[in-house]
């Protein structure tokens, strides 16, 4: 067992992944677009917001469901619902946090309703994966990874993620895959940073147990 201090040290010692380029879009700019969309049903302004956040929202939902079709449906429904509810957006939080929260709630509800009936339909890996030094090292070091293809590793990883509860999986996806900070994850999931850290620690432990053969 780890003490609380050890847990926090272990968690905080992990470098956060690089933030994505799109995350640097200014909040003020978002707010201008939101106000324009709110004022006159300006679809052009809303279209810009969709283009700005579609990739990140899709990635979050896709990593949660491991299914492209479900992710496609959920992302579209998220943007439609956000547009309809845009008048209720007061600007207390950033648009980015607000729309993320809609997507997260929608996805968690969807997964709870479907339970384990969601089938995996994994996207293809891009060409850059062959040049990722970490991944190349990971599959070429030891058995059983030596004989393992990346697509098999992808299936194992997604299978392990699906064994986590929806909330634990969401924390891992937002922090470890998408590179959001603990604070951002807390705002999106409507919980405090301590809860985010403890969920992350527990989820990583579970993943390590499920993927122990590939982490030696």
């Amino acid at each position: 067992m780890h003490t609380k201090a050890e847990v926090e040290k272990l968690v905080s010692s992990q470098p956060a992944p690089e933030p994505q380029e799109a995350a640097e879009a200014s909040e003020a700019d978002d707010l201008t677009l939101v106000r324009r969309a709110q004022a006159g049903e300006d679809m052009g302004a809303y279209d810009q917001l969709v283009r700005r956040y579609q990739e990140r929202l899709y990635a979050t939902v896709y990593h949660m469901t491991s299914n492209h079709e479900d992710a496609n449906d959920l992302v579209q429904e998220t943007f439609i619902k956000a547009f309809r509810a845009l008048k209720s957006f007061k600007g207390d939080s950033s648009f980015y946090t607000w729309i993320y929260r809609i997507a997260v709630n929608k996805t968690i509800n969807f997964l709870k309703q479907r339970k384990n009936r969601v089938q995996m339909s994994l996207n293809d890996l891009d060409f850059n994966v062959e040049n990722d030094p970490d991944l190349v090292a990971l599959i070429s070091e030891k058995t059983p990874r030596r004989s393992l293809h990346l697509s098999e590793l992808q299936e194992k990883l997604n299978g392990a993620l699906r064994k986590l509860s929806e909330h634990h999986r969401m924390v891992v996806v937002l922090h470890d895959v998408q590179g959001l900070s603990h604070e951002e994850v807390g705002r999106i999931m409507d919980c405090n940073v301590g809860t985010v850290r403890s969920r992350l620690f527990y989820a990583r432990q579970q993943l390590q147990a499920h993927l122990s053969d590939y982490l030696k």
Binding site: Y58, Q76, N123
Partner: protein
């Protein structure tokens, strides 16, 4: 501790694989148009209740306060009605000169005991001791003289 840290490092490297999963080519170029056309078709239009609930979805504090007030009012009304209703109704009845009837009086008010119907017992008797004309027994031979002709065909019999 080092082992744990190494495992987490390896896990994070493995998680990097997820970032290489990409949707079909051109997907993000088409997605905004699909969303726009669905919005313009009027999909996802919120009805009154959805608009009402949407306010609570995005502002949980309102939802909690609304629930608190609603349950408080419900609880107050239930407690109030339970504690006052029996006393009030008894007082009202007493004021109008009502009193509670005995079981015999209550039965007599509902049923005329001297005009009870005749009922066949298991031996075919029809309460003969009570006087009045004897009714046919349910268990005796059929009395065809009392049969009423019935026709299921249209027109006069």
């Amino acid at each position: 501790m080092n082992q744990d840290s190494e495992n987490v490092d390896a896990l994070l490297k493995l998680m990097a694989l997820k970032r290489h999963e990409q949707p079909p080519p051109g997907y993000f170029a088409r997605l905004p148009d699909k969303i726009t056309s669905r919005i313009e078709r009027g999909e996802g239009q919120l009805n009154f209740w959805e608009r009402f609930l949407a306010g609570y979805t995005f502002r949980p504090a309102f939802a909690y306060s609304f629930a608190l007030v609603a349950f408080g009012a419900l609880g107050f009304s239930v407690i109030n009605s339970v504690s006052t209703a029996p006393a009030d109704s008894a007082r009202e009845l007493a004021g109008e000169g009502w009193r509670v009837a005995t079981p015999r009086e209550a039965l007599a008010s509902q049923v005329n005991l001297s005009d009870m119907p005749h009922v066949a017992n298991w031996m075919g008797n029809t309460n003969a001791g009570a006087g009045g004309p004897a009714l046919p027994s349910l268990f005796g031979p059929p009395d065809h003289s009392r049969a009423v002709p019935v026709s299921f065909q249209a027109g006069p019999p």
